[in-house]
Subunit: 352 residues, 2 copies
């Protein structure tokens, strides 16, 4: 081995999520089955590519303004980044600098642990209860910060705003981040509490309800003080992250509220129908409030079923990790895609 190998940061080689090439039913990465707003296509077609020669606006002006208007907050309450992964990572770096451990659920978004390790932030996972619910009292102890998704992933379980507020209120001395990637399919957002709690940051994304996973746009909303810290950190490390196409397309997407709401309505409708269909063939689904369902079948091994589905061109997500070995996560596709899923499942299970 070469000497320089000793000083290379070696990480667990990660295999990116499957991007099947042939025609499949892709219900494995919680993408939106519908295209983004037609306003995005229009904006691209008339984009001034001469502008590409210049660095993009580091303040992301028009996009920040559109989001501020949409969510009825001020411009200095909005921070945007390259997908909510970038925003969350920047939040970890900026706000979690205590020697006390930050707290997050044991079953949750897998990147929290990765960023904590990357930035050498001590952390302590809090166990979800037997029904895969967050136990709020676990977050009342001394800590260096708190983060949890609502709805949680991959469980899809949503906690009511009162519950979320209890955690925020119990932790005035640390920053509490509510990761709301899936909130548009669920219920009330913690955004309602932004003016009430100065330790609260809400993070959302364009990848789910806004159908723009491919454009990598996420954002945080908080009070101007915390947003300024985030911007200071971002500017000091890498000022220009959001490219011109993302800025323009993102702005147009936010302005089209009607299309956004209609897309959400369709997905919720399909989800509720799909939950019912799954229950009828014996699946047990956690109470799903996202654009996916976390489900298990008492009579069928999840891993075997997952493999069989894959072999038949239906991709869902399976982890096989502790406590969730028998669960799979099924993204809500179009009604037609879900019909295909049920045709397969009913045939596999011999349901008439």
């Amino acid at each position: 081995m070469r000497a320089f190998e000793n000083n290379i940061r070696k990480v667990e080689p990660y295999v990116p999520g499957e991007q099947p090439q042939n025609k499949v039913i892709k219900l494995n990465t919680n993408e939106n089955p519908y295209p983004p707003s037609p306003k995005v296509t229009e904006a691209l077609a008339k984009m001034d590519t001469d502008r590409f020669r210049l660095y993009p606006d580091p303040t992301c002006g028009p996009l920040v303004e559109a989001l501020a208007e949409f969510y009825h907050v001020d411009r200095d309450q909005v921070f945007v980044g390259v997908g909510s992964d970038d925003v969350l990572s920047m939040c970890f770096l900026t706000f979690f600098n205590s020697k006390k451990p930050i707290l997050f659920p044991d079953i949750t978004y897998s990147f929290y642990k990765v960023w904590a390790e990357l930035y050498r932030i001590p952390y302590e996972c809090q166990r979800l209860d037997g029904n895969f619910r967050i136990v709020k009292e676990d977050y009342y102890k001394e800590n260096g910060g708190i983060i949890f998704p609502n709805p949680n992933a991959p469980t899809a379980v949503y906690e009511e705003l009162d519950f979320v507020e209890d955690i925020i209120r119990a932790n005035p001395d640390v920053i509490v981040i509510v990761d709301e990637a899936y909130i548009d399919f669920a219920g009330r957002s913690a955004l309602e509490l932004i003016d009430k709690y100065e330790n609260l940051i809400v993070v959302q994304t364009f990848s789910k309800a806004r159908s723009m996973a491919g454009m990598r746009i996420g954002y945080a909303i908080s009070n101007p003080v915390l947003i300024k810290y985030l911007n200071d950190a971002k500017y000091s490390f890498n000022s220009y992250t959001m490219n011109q196409a993302a800025l323009v397309c993102g702005t147009e997407a936010v302005k089209d509220r009607e299309y956004f709401e209609e897309g959400i309505r369709k997905i919720i409708e399909t989800r509720e129908w799909a939950k019912d269909r799954l229950a009828r063939i014996g699946f047990i689904c956690l109470d799903s409030s996202a654009n996916f369902i976390f489900a298990m079948h008492p009579d069928y091994d999840a891993k075997e079923l997952f493999e069989e589905m894959k072999a038949n061109g239906i991709y869902v997500r399976y982890w096989g990790s502790e406590r969730i070995e028998q669960y799979m996560r099924i993204t809500i596709g179009t009604r037609e895609e879900m019909e295909e899923l049920f045709r397969f499942l009913e045939k596999y299970m011999g349901v008439k």
Copy 2:
């Protein structure tokens, strides 16, 4: 002060580079005065926005392939990121994990210091000589890694390939990164040495010669072993960074070699003419091999001149930091923009 303020990472608030709104001659951020390849505009006009609903290809397949073909290397020798800032930052994180200090010039790209501090990497700046040249012997001592730009910034000074090779050869036990943001305007690239030295990484960008600062694309080329470490690190922290528009536009831009070469030719021509004009009115220019000139005038205070130019709508870059208080950096614009610059300078200096 709130308790949570204690655990917030506070950084020197950075003011992003000026993005003047009104019509000015913008020679302050080393952007390309010409638009990107027309193939980029064509690609955008026919882009399939339905694809935006899906996560982008985390391997950046077509863009990596286009770059590999352009530079006559294999696909597994290319890593791409969100501008060369992202690529360089990822290199620091991945390769500079020694307890010994990394080495870079005292006058150089300002972000090296920022990333070293961010990732808690010890570093030691090596003083450029009186003519603002790198002293290669300074890089022969024990160290934890080496990085320098060639041409250097903001001096624009290019070192010949033999010189670069001497530094690489003297450091077989550490990673040497040659940051070639401006190489296309200069001379031979260290890419010629990739197969010869397994400790070498060359980083380049789309922001300068390819006129795409607004799209945020950079890349590293090295051997497959080091590129794999970079990809492993990237995938483990944030798998999806390059958005769909950047992937498509970047690929098209790389394929248009003729446009790329013609653009470089024009800028070099304007630069050589501008150096001559500057010399004629008494400026002293470092030997410039980039798309900018680093210059000072013995009879005029640089700060005053800078302010006066700005007041007249001509933006250049001025730092006022140690050793370069009397220098300003002038980006090469179009011939017409440079004519405007000289009209102002000649008037200011009372040259007939």
